[in-house]
Assembly symmetry: D2
Homo-oligomer: 367 residues x 4
């Protein structure tokens, strides 16, 4: 099985390790004649790049993308697009403890148990560096959406950092690009800055919640019953490193509602159905309603911290570990562009599926 | 794309509508020589069957499964297993309003917008009757696990109904089969009985949270990075009707933890690594740790309620609707065996994947 | 892996054994709103049905198809279509030798070696009865083509029986339906009648070559480089029981040509490119040219013959076998509608793929 | 759909164009702990490399492979292996006619009709340079087979060049590496040398037949009914540029045999079943018998010839074309290592499938 691949028609295979020569995304199924160049993709990679503020890892990576195939004269040809990012900061360091010890809360131990080998260099394939390849692929997906469905707008932002949640009353789309946390709540950004600074200095880390909204997605995307739009989005987000929970619309809180409160009422608007609310998160029965698609995911705190923790070695001896190195006190920050990229890939994929199977059969209400 | 199919090697395709002649599951990839007969599968279907208590829909369905292929002399042969359930209670009723009006919070409108047609008979393919096929497939998966990994034990249970959550201090595995809500908290069962009775009488409905635990799963299952065990489980659960959120281990709450609190410490036990806690839900980096695998999902309240709600018709006119009929006040109850079935299918699938690709290479700690 | 499934978007999973209760095809991905009823599919099944002439097996099967799901009010809904054929003539016979002995040239031995079990009843899953399910699925594919691309016409016919090939000078489309061999050469039909009668009486069998032509297929279908139209057609035909060779256009003889002879010259016609010849079989670089698509496949003689042959038993003892029973002296005859069905499925599948990925980007020469 | 990908568990995605910066293969699903380095893969690439004799294109390409991911300390880790080959001889030439005119018998016209764009640089993605990526992936597959099933031996060779077939009486495995045509018949090699020299000088081209034999493949590989070993091999070979026909064992000639002649008789040998002959090509019912697996494919003559041919331009005007440039008079020669590579990938893939699904259930005759 192609288990490093996601997508049905827009298929993204990521490859590469934290400290190998390069990593990248092999994208098969991108529609032809989409205008794209390296700068278009670099734009999104720069958003995810480490070292852009004191709140993210100080590893220095140019994260410069090269398009090795699939385009000609500034447009996609319809053949596979190879997006490569060379690893430049493979600091030749003393891995010390890490070679023998497993970090608690980290994939070290399970990769070893599964594969019987250990790429201790920065976590190997389990490193969050893999997400750079997702962001590159997401850049290509956005370019394709720009051609096929230019009204679609995809935005990710943080709604919680540790104990601190945003106040929805302060929600302002314009704020998102104005602070290092990609949060729409300017006041939260201030609180979080102090909070995270404290965590960083104490060598601790904290989790976060990221929300991604897709506006302008047409009704009718999604393929029941195992290729539902929400199923594919949930899988896409859960596949991101450190994610432990995924919610669509009302999410886990839907359990607390009654039917009266949960069902969004429908009225007829000038250009189609309108809804009194969006508890559904823009998806009913796995198919988009035309409302905003809203997904949230929780990122756990990174397991690389400066506190001593009990662990074992490859040879099965009890020991302790402290993880030094260049780490993110809140990996959720850099997960924002990753969540956006996954959303872009899934929306494009379902748009292509819908075009293939449905054609002109789509039901238009009131037609 | 095979969008009514899930699984990599153990592939389940469900088919059928609420009021067609039959529904079922075509299962491809079941290992050969697994002992199975119809009674083994019927056992699990009976658990999900409607009309078993006053808390579930009064639709009468025998839900009797027939094995049409793939077995010989009481064992699987390795060829596709066809599991068919005939629909018997296709009550010839007056569909009335439903033919023209869309139910708010229901897939009626999106199926119409996608496919341009309307199977108004009981929701057609979007009906929760589809989940009977999942339970049948899950029964087969359990039989295969019984042969390949008999120590695996999969149990689902309700942990929340609407406003009421269980008290973990009361958790008792033995209680789960003792009450109509499959809850491990006997006290909660009493509270819920009254609560749900009230909702049922008032024609309302409520959401729920179901947790499914798999005990005895070996370390090493799961395939990074897009076929992670948690990714596949999240997709499996999110694909169930009415599910709006999925959590692994600490779930959404992981966002609120610091790295010190979240990382489960490791010590060496007599038969392998042991963990001080299970915040990870038994999965690190997408691969099982050998601990209990714990997943939770939230089911929204059914949209079929007796309160008048605003909606529109196929021709785009504003109107109102009340949904009469035989419905579940808390669909979460019958989602419990469905969640178990999905867990069984995913665990088996990853067991088969692991056998194929890893063989004797698996790393044994301390070996 | 779903190894009983073929197709990318129009996905057909066949299930069932020769002597189980039923067999069928689960078809996922059929476009919605295609007019279809059981009679449409029965039409094609009747063409394949055994016992229609003295030249085919005398097993009596009604091969009556039932549509169990996926249609409503005479049209497909876009959900999975379940096509079931009940086995009626499961003659309770004395299997005798067959239970222990492997028939030479038959899948008996390899199925046993692979799966470790033996469904000796009529060959189990390896029986050519499985092809009834293909023909049913092909009937659905033809109905969908009739909606999406009504100009497409798919016709299969025999061009060789054993030593006897047709004379292309006698080729007459109208003849194909006029003889029990589906051959376009009326004279060949006469010769073959005598020839096959002799083989049948002596308990022997013979191979055949079937050609399938698809006319009216638009240019541009096919997906390089591993989903090429010819690749998918070759796989589709090779997957039919007893097929040992597949040729596109010039086929194996292409090896004997020089570049001058092989390359079909192009001129501009009133409605697009025209070709001086069709050595390519309507496919260049894996993509359709708009010419007739021409594929041929060779069917080996059935291994069930009345001559004594050396073989072994399950317990590894040398022995001999004669296969009595109701067999086809030339299975190629009944392979004709099967080849047509596979062609219909592949063409529809690639039409759906093309619609999804290419949209309005298709290049029009001279536009 | 991942249409530039082949394989079920050992999944190879090739990418890249004739004149882009690089091409390669992204291989997902390679088992871990397989010893591999760049030299192991280079060995097979050198066999396919252009310019090694006067009988192949004079394009100069180092075809030096780089492993960018998936290995650590000389072994595979179980993560995706990226194999990259940089294009060095992207001669900046005057493409002249080719920009506007379509070459008869070439994919130029169909790619344009499908994708609406034209990468005229050396045929873009439709160039046979894509097969270098296949050979690289095949090198990795061979290394994995070397670990998992070291007794498997895969050898390709030419059995026909144009009018000239080998004499099977002269068949000598040792000869294959001794002549530039990879033919086992030393006399044929002499005849072909003169024959091809004449064709080359006259600017003509000719087709060929390549046979690939896999020895030592265990019984039981192959997955009926659409993942049959012969189906997957047929698809693999048909997907190679210029292939027009594929045969297993007796191939197209099976049509001419009677059942008595075709069925290979079975006797019990010291280590399992033995066969009197190999008409089946080592595959019965889609599953390997343990005999040699034998497949043949026909390669058409390249369409790039020095004879004037009629064609049309993108704007739909009639014209003529002569294709100058560096071409292979018999592309079949360089198809030999490509066929071997495809065989290696398919055998490994089915070995992995078999391990996952069957385990210890395999039937042993006489056990």
């Amino acid at each position: 099985m192609s288990l490093n691949t996601f997508g049905h028609l827009f298929r993204v295979t990521t490859w590469g390790e934290s400290h190998g020569p390069a990593l990248g995304a092999t994208v098969d199924g991108c529609p032809p004649n989409v205008a794209i160049d390296e700068a278009d993709i670099q734009h999104w990679l720069d958003k995810r790049k480490p070292g852009t503020s004191k709140y993210t890892t100080q590893r220095r990576e140019a994260d410069a993308v090269k398009i090795l195939s699939g385009t000609f004269e500034g447009k996609t040809t319809g053949t596979p697009v190879q997006l490569m990012i060379e690893n430049t900061d493979q600091r030749s360091k003393d891995y010390g403890d890490i070679i023998e010890k497993f970090r608690p809360g980290h994939a070290d131990i399970t990769y070893y148990q599964k594969y019987g080998n250990r790429d201790y260099r920065g976590g190997g394939r389990s490193s969050a560096r893999e997400t750079a390849a997702r962001v590159a692929a997401g850049g290509l997906a956005r370019a394709a959406l720009n051609t096929l469905a230019p009204q679609v707008e995809i935005t990710g932002y943080m709604t919680r950092m540790g104990a601190h949640e945003i106040d929805r009353a302060n929600f302002d789309w314009a704020q998102i690009e104005q602070n290092p946390f990609w949060t729409p709540d300017a006041k939260a950004a201030e609180t979080w800055a102090d909070y995270l600074d404290g965590l960083r200095k104490s060598g601790s880390s904290v989790g976060a919640i990221i929300e991604v909204t897709a506006r302008g997605v047409p009704a009718g995307l999604g393929a029941p019953v195992y290729g539902k739009l929400d199923t594919d989005l949930a899988a896409a987000m859960m596949s991101i490193n450190a994610v432990k929970g995924v919610e669509i619309g009302e999410g886990m809180s839907a359990a607390m509602l009654t039917g009266e409160l949960n069902a969004d009422e429908i009225t007829m608007g000038p250009s189609g159905p309108e809804y009194s609310s969006n508890h559904s998160g823009g998806i009913l029965g796995g198919i988009s309603t035309g409302q905003d698609i809203v997904i949230r995911f929780a990122v756990k705190p990174t397991s690389s911290i400066l506190t001593t923790r009990k662990t074992i070695t490859k040879s099965g001896e009890d020991t302790e570990i402290i993880t030094k190195g260049r780490h993110d006190p809140c990996v959720g920050i850099r997960a924002v562009p990753v969540g956006e990229a996954m959303m872009a890939c899934v929306i494009l994929d379902h748009l292509l599926l819908h075009r293939g199977q449905i054609g002109k059969n789509q039901g238009v209400i009131g037609a």
